[in-house]
Structures are given as structure tokens and as C-alpha cells.
Symmetry: C2
Subunit: 216 residues, 2 copies
């Protein structure tokens, strides 16, 4: 561990929070498994589905205000092999983004970096095919990093703050694993949940409903 002022502060805050008994340090954190998906801008939705098209929400996601849509697209990369039925998530965003797994990246022959959602500078190009048109993003394809959404109360309880990274034990599947460098994302719009992609989930035998615990 590289000890600097920032990491020392983070550790001390976690120890103090645990000493204060705000939350048991081994409180299980529920895990949500993110399949490949697409976020779109207004302009790209127009191109793919027609000008003025409105998304059709079919399911609320665990994070408040986020929803899965009926609409799906095909994504395609330099391999010229397509992955069909990629779900669009709403609401619309300021920049279009395609989140895939490393497994998908070999199918498509794209080389997405592991990134926080929304951090797209220099990420991989990808082509999205919709019923009314095609969009080629110069950048926007990423493998989402491992991260935990939490509300400010949870963050206080765990003794962490937005942007911290922690390590968690994934012991509730079939292959015991520790995930390091898990990013903490705090917002009063968030509900406590760790998000991993299908590669991480499948590697450890996780299903929706699996949990992780913070490494002390």
C-alpha cells in the first residue's frame, strides 16, 4: 500500500467510523450485475430511431431515476461481428456511451479501457446500429470499472467519501475472490449497491442477490 496523506486520511476515517459503530464493517453490500448496455444523447437517439423519438421505459433500475428501455441496438466493431440486442438505458445523457465486457471486446475486436462511467476521453470507437440509422462514436466504448454506489449516509457509515477506492471480498459465489480498487461513488441519488460487469460476475459465480463485504 502506498501511504500518502490522502490514503492515511481515508484509512483513519474508516477506522473512526467503525469504532463509532456506525455500521458493522462486514455489512454485506448487495451486488448488481451490469450486462452490456448503451447510453445515448438526444442527437444519437434521433439518428438511430428517428427524429424526436422517445425511449420506452420498461423497468426501473436499482439506482433511482435510471431505467431500462424497450429499445435495443446492434453494436459492431472492426471484427465486423455484431452483438445484437444491446439494451438502451435511460435517461438520455450528454455523451453517448457503450459499456461492454472484455469478453465482448474480443468478439468485436475493440479495445476499451477500464473506466468510470462518463470518463470517455480517449476511450474506444464503436458503431451502433439502430432501426433508422447508424452512429459511429469516435470514443465512448468502455469496460466499466468496479464501483459502489452509496448515499451520503452509507458513505458516513462506511467511513468513505466519493472517489475513494476500497477492496471487497466476493465470497458469496462459487470461486472466492477479492476485488481491489473498487471506486466509491456517493450521491443522494444513489442506493447502496456494487456494480460489476458480467465477466467479474461470471468469474466468481455471482447472481443478482449476491453480496460483497468490505476488506478491513
Amino acid at each position: 500500500m502506498d501511504l500518502n496523506a490522502q490514503s492515511v486520511e481515508a484509512i483513519v476515517r474508516r477506522i473512526v467510523a467503525q469504532m463509532e459503530g456506525a455500521v458493522p464493517a462486514d455489512k454485506p453490500i448487495p451486488v448488481g450485475i451490469s450486462n452490456r448496455h448503451i447510453h445515448l444523447t438526444r442527437a444519437d437517439l434521433d439518428t438511430l430511431f428517428g427524429t424526436g423519438y422517445e425511449l420506452t421505459p420498461i423497468k426501473d433500475l436499482s439506482q433511482p431515476g435510471q431505467y431500462a428501455c424497450k429499445e435495443q441496438c446492434t453494436i459492431i466493431g472492426p471484427s465486423m461481428r455484431a452483438i445484437e440486442g444491446v439494451r438502451i438505458l435511460g435517461p438520455l445523457r450528454k455523451q453517448s456511451q457503450v459499456e461492454i465486457s472484455a469478453t465482448d471486446s474480443f468478439t468485436l475486436k475493440v479495445k476499451p479501457p477500464v473506466r468510470e462511467s462518463g470518463s470517455l476521453a480517449g476511450s474506444a470507437p464503436i458503431t451502433i446500429v439502430g432501426p433508422k440509422g447508424v452512429v459511429t462514436l469516435k470514443e465512448g466504448c468502455i469496460i466499466a470499472n468496479r464501483h459502489i454506489h452509496m448515499a451520503p449516509e452509507d458513505a458516513a457509515a462506511f467511513g468513505v467519501k466519493d472517489g475513494d477506492t476500497i477492496d471487497v471480498d466476493a465470497f458469496s459465489g462459487t470461486k472466492r475472490t477479492r476485488w481491489f480498487d473498487v471506486q466509491i461513488r456517493v450521491s443522494d441519488q444513489f442506493r447502496l449497491e456494487m456494480h460489476v460487469d458480467t465477466d467479474d460476475a461470471n468469474a466468481v459465480g455471482f447472481k443478482n442477490g449476491s453480496t460483497v463485504t468490505v476488506v478491513k
Copy 2:
């Protein structure tokens, strides 16, 4: 950690081996990534490819005596979705075995246990389709466990013995991860190499040539 006579013995032997300087405890162990593959019996090879058919080796594998063959089959499960081009590995074995990833298991809708190669009692059924016939195994489909092949000299150097389990850090990819419960397999026919499946490899961004280190 559950301390009993066996685990204490294993730990002491590792410490002694490290004290004797036989091998640095952080010596990197090369990783081989196992894609889905098939091992066949003589009888099943006859059924799939014709009586008396001989496999065509095209590439030696890292473990001495093991080789990839030109021959491939299609595997299929209760989803009625097929995975094509599944490589056969030689030589022939006493029991046919299909090793897939958890990701594959969702495609096929089979439920293989995580197992050591060859430990097939109660494992999942699967159907193998060849050019001359079809074989349905009542059991034989597994997700291979994480394991490390080593020669007796390596085992002595690391202070482990056949059947031990150790933990390793997978830090040479894109997402830092610790793999627990990695099985040690010792034989004078083995070369030092950790084997993981494509789910584990993709989850951490490993390629052939990636390495792990033993957790002290």
C-alpha cells in the same frame, strides 16, 4: 483461517522453504488461459468421428504430453443454443469431459459445478455433436477450478504439496484481483503454470503471458 494440523504443516513448510531461499515467494507464476474444450474417450471419439478415427495434433500445450487437435465439435444444452468450434484436446482419456466457462453455461443453460479436471461424479450433462455422430454425456461438463501445475522441484521451492490450496494475486492485468483457494497439482509431468478459464482471465484483463504471485 481455520488452523488445524494440516494447515499448520502447510504454512510451516512454506515458511521454511522461503527461509531457505529456495525460491523468492514473489516469483511470478505464468498464467495459461483455458478456452472451452473437450477431452474424449476412445469410444466417444469413435461415435463422433467414426470407428478407429485418430486425432490430429496441431499444437503442443504447455503441459508436456498434452496437445490441441485439429478436430472440433459443437456442444449443445437444454437452451438448444449451440456453441460451435469447441476444440478437442489430446490425448484420449478414460472419461469424456467438457470444460466451459460460466458465461458459456448461460448460453447453453447447463449448470456445471466448479471442479478439478477428472472429478466428474454428479457434474452436468451435455451433448457433443461431431461429424459422424452425437454423444450425450450424463455427466462430464464442469467449470474447471483455478489451479497451478508444478513439478516436484517447484512444489518444494514454494513449500506446497499436491492438493494444497493457496491464494494468488492477479495484478498484471487491468483490474487488480486476488484469487483464493487455488489448487496445487504436482507431477513430474507438469510445468509451472496457473490455469484459469476465460471468465477469470477476461475479468482481470489477463492475456497469455500474464502472471500471478503467491500471497504470503
